[in-house]
């Protein structure tokens, strides 16, 4: 791509964004902390006040590392987070505090909600988003339909909170329609040492942005993310899942 074309495209994208949603462009974005990712995202990070989806590979818990990091950053120094999960019904596992805390998630500022049904979970998310009391609201374990994601997006805008949806990735879910601003796909990736977990992170869909893929490393000592390799734009499924 020539520099001229790139510049033109960037300018056009910027124009579209300002037309699309007044005030959205000057909204804050959550930085990942590594320019290799942030520069690729419109707004310079994960747009706050929007809905984002995280499709996790079903066989491992890799996504929960990134989720804990993002939630922790969104909660920050003064915010409060809401984690809405489904009541464990012989399911795989519960979110485990001692492990999540290592990713910088301030658990004393995180409220856990356990819903019995997906409909209740969506209601709880919306309630939390609209209240304006939470800076981040996570829905764990559901991939709702287009209407429901629209409602969540509107609730997030109304309350100024960032909504995250996490669900196990599947072919059907990656094709479904959603009003989310971004969709990520996260899978495990071999790490060199236990204290530096690595994930293969693919930005599958991004409003005003393209598809990207990285290998991201988290450091438990430094409590920060770092891109260890930017991958070519190729399907993730074949490589990791």
């Amino acid at each position: 791509m020539s520099t001229f074309r790139a510049k033109t495209l960037a300018r056009l994208r910027e124009q579209i964004r300002t037309l699309e949603k007044p005030g959205l462009s000057d909204r804050q974005a959550l930085e990942f902390g590594d320019p290799a990712i942030d520069d690729e995202l419109p707004g310079g990070g994960l747009a706050s006040g929007c809905l984002h989806e995280l499709a996790a590979s079903a066989q491992d818990a890799a996504a929960y590392g990134l989720i804990a990091v993002l939630l922790g950053r969104l909660i920050g120094e003064a915010g409060v987070g809401l984690w809405c999960g489904l009541m464990p019904s012989g399911g795989p596992a519960l979110p485990y505090g001692p492990g999540l805390a290592r990713f910088g998630l301030p658990l004393e500022r995180l409220v856990l909600v356990r819903a019995r049904k997906p409909a209740e979970l969506l209601w709880a998310m919306e309630e939390g988003l609209r209240s304006g009391r939470f800076t981040a609201v996570l829905g764990d374990g559901i991939a709702p339909d287009l209407t429901a994601t629209r409602r969540l997006q509107l609730a997030a805008e109304a309350g100024g909170a960032t909504a995250l949806l996490a669900f196990p990735a599947s072919e059907r879910r990656s094709l479904r329609l959603s009003a989310a601003t971004t969709r990520w796909r996260i899978a495990a990736c071999p790490a060199v040492m236990p204290d530096r977990p690595r994930w293969r992170v693919c930005l599958e869909r991004c409003r005003n942005g393209g598809r990207r893929e990285w290998i991201i490393e988290w450091s438990h000592e430094a409590l920060r993310l770092r891109v260890s390799a930017a991958l070519a734009d190729r399907p993730l499924a074949a490589a990791a899942v």
Partner: protein, 490 residues
């Protein structure tokens, strides 16, 4: 309050057809069906409980007989006691055929004791329930007078000072003391028929011959020994009450009334420096039933708008029937709440106060135990290292031990796995029918059982961090000869 024909009144009320025949209720007993209850008309014909149905039919051929249902009678009586909550929070079921209300301090709301009792009897008569009520200084005296007194009401306001109530009670038969049939029989044989006959006798010999029950009953009637009423529901210390002349049924009216009640209650709570933790909103219907809604809050509050929001959903379940005549809002549980909460020093505290409304809404729909926070526990055992606490409990930032490798998901219970190992540790393993080849491993971390606990798994565990060839990370342990998978790392 004595309901002489409660079972038959209830039976008639349940079936609204107006049959004029004398009604008796029967139950199988020795020698065939026997009467358990008779209505006023049957009683006037000379029938009484205990008679055989066949005998009764011979005496009064036109009687209508039906099966007795003691259980339903009791249930209905309990509902009636709830309904009496419109007069006083201290209402209790008293035996099979009576209610006991403590109207101390409530009578002025109804224009005095006499007016209250008259209103009660009139309303019950409206429901088709015959009642005799007596107001007295002790429950036992009221019980005695309602059943054996000659007038309907023991002169209201008349205490049991010597010379007035005491003398009148003395004229009642000894049965009014609520004694067992055996004791009554013994007393009769001794020629003691009236309470007054007993009052002057020396207590020692009386107790020796007839048991201490008699003395205790006597003391209760005369107020020497205290008797308490245990109300069916814990009475609220702060209450607000609204009475509607015609009864209301529309949702808008109920909402409006709820708001008015909240305003009044919150004013009272404010004056006393209290905040509501649990509220009870009782609806008394024109047809003599009561419905009670309950809400809870996670922190003491007097915020009218917040409390009103919490009532929105439960109010949907209110069935007004022909109309609601009285609504009573009571704060069943309260906590201290300073007059103003604004000047709190800590930022975090402020945030938590702000959270209360939304958390209460979440709890209201999902249940109290569904809205929680994770709290660390000082335990080496991974499954005990974390617990949940109510979301709004004060919680200073706690230290989560971050040095040790811990998974982000812990399986509800460790799952056995097949492991092939070499000298250094596990080589590959099979979990949920999938084979995993191990590329990296770290460990073991030895976790000893908590010896001071007598329950639980007593074996020492050696934990390993494992990474398979795809980069998935597992937490497995060896305990004795077996291997288990316990958690998943991110």
């Amino acid at each position: 309050m004595y309901l002489p024909h409660w079972p038959t009144d209830r039976w008639r009320r349940q079936r609204s057809e107006a049959s004029q025949a004398p009604l008796v209720l029967t139950a199988p007993a020795q020698g065939g069906l026997r009467l358990t209850a008779v209505d006023a008309r049957a009683a006037a014909e000379g029938l009484s409980p205990g008679q055989r149905l066949a005998d009764a039919r011979a005496l009064v051929p036109e009687i209508e007989a039906a099966d007795a249902d003691r259980f339903a009678d009791g249930q209905a009586l309990a509902r009636l006691a709830d309904w009496c909550g419109r007069y006083t929070p201290w209402s209790a079921v008293d035996g099979d055929d009576g209610l006991c209300l403590d109207i101390t301090g409530c009578a002025h709301l109804f224009g005095g004791e006499a007016a209250l009792v008259a209103d009660l009897i009139r309303r019950l008569a409206g429901f088709g329930v015959a009642a005799r009520a007596a107001v007295a200084d002790t429950p036992a005296a009221a019980w005695a007078w309602a059943r054996f007194g000659d007038s309907m009401i023991l002169e209201p306001g008349m205490g049991l000072e010597p010379g007035t109530g005491r003398d009148r009670l003395a004229t009642l038969p000894v049965e009014a003391l609520r004694l067992s049939a055996l004791t009554v029989e013994s007393l009769r044989r001794l020629g003691l028929r009236r309470i007054g006959d007993l009052a002057g006798l020396p207590r020692g010999p009386l107790a020796a011959r007839l048991g201490s029950e008699l003395l205790s009953r006597l003391d209760r009637v005369f107020g020497v020994e205290a008797e308490s009423i245990s109300p069916r529901r814990a009475p609220a210390s702060w209450r607000a009450r609204l009475v509607f002349a015609d009864g209301i049924a529309r949702r808008e009216d109920i909402d409006l009334a709820t708001r008015e009640l909240l305003k009044e209650l919150c004013r009272a709570l404010d004056a006393d420096g209290r905040g509501a933790r649990r509220l009870e909103l009782a609806f008394y219907r024109l047809d003599g039933t009561a419905q009670i809604l309950e809400i809870g809050t996670s922190r003491p509050t007097r915020d009218i708008a917040h409390l009103a929001r919490l009532f929105v959903e439960p109010l949907g379940s209110v069935e007004p029937g022909f109309g609601i005549e009285t609504m009573i809002l009571g704060a069943v549980a309260t906590d201290k709440l300073a007059a103003r909460q604004m000047a709190l020093p800590s930022h975090q505290r402020r945030d938590i106060e702000d959270l209360a409304p939304v958390l209460d809404r979440l709890q209201g729909r999902l249940g109290r135990n569904a809205v929680v926070r994770l709290v660390p526990v000082a335990s080496h055992l991974p499954e005990r290292a974390v617990t949940v606490a109510p979301a709004l409990n004060d919680m200073p930032p706690r230290h989560w031990p971050a040095e040790l490798p811990r998974p982000v998901q812990l399986l509800a219970s460790p799952e056995p796995i097949d492991v092939t190992e070499d000298e250094e540790g596990p080589k590959h393993f099979r979990w949920r029918r999938v084979e995993h080849r191990i590329a990296e491993r770290e460990g073991p971390e030895r976790i000893a059982p908590e010896w001071w606990r007598t329950t639980g798994d007593p074996t020492t565990r050696d934990y390993f961090w494992l990474q398979d060839e795809d980069g998935r990370r597992y937490w497995v342990y060896r305990a004795g000869p077996g291997w288990y998978l316990h958690g998943l790392f991110a």
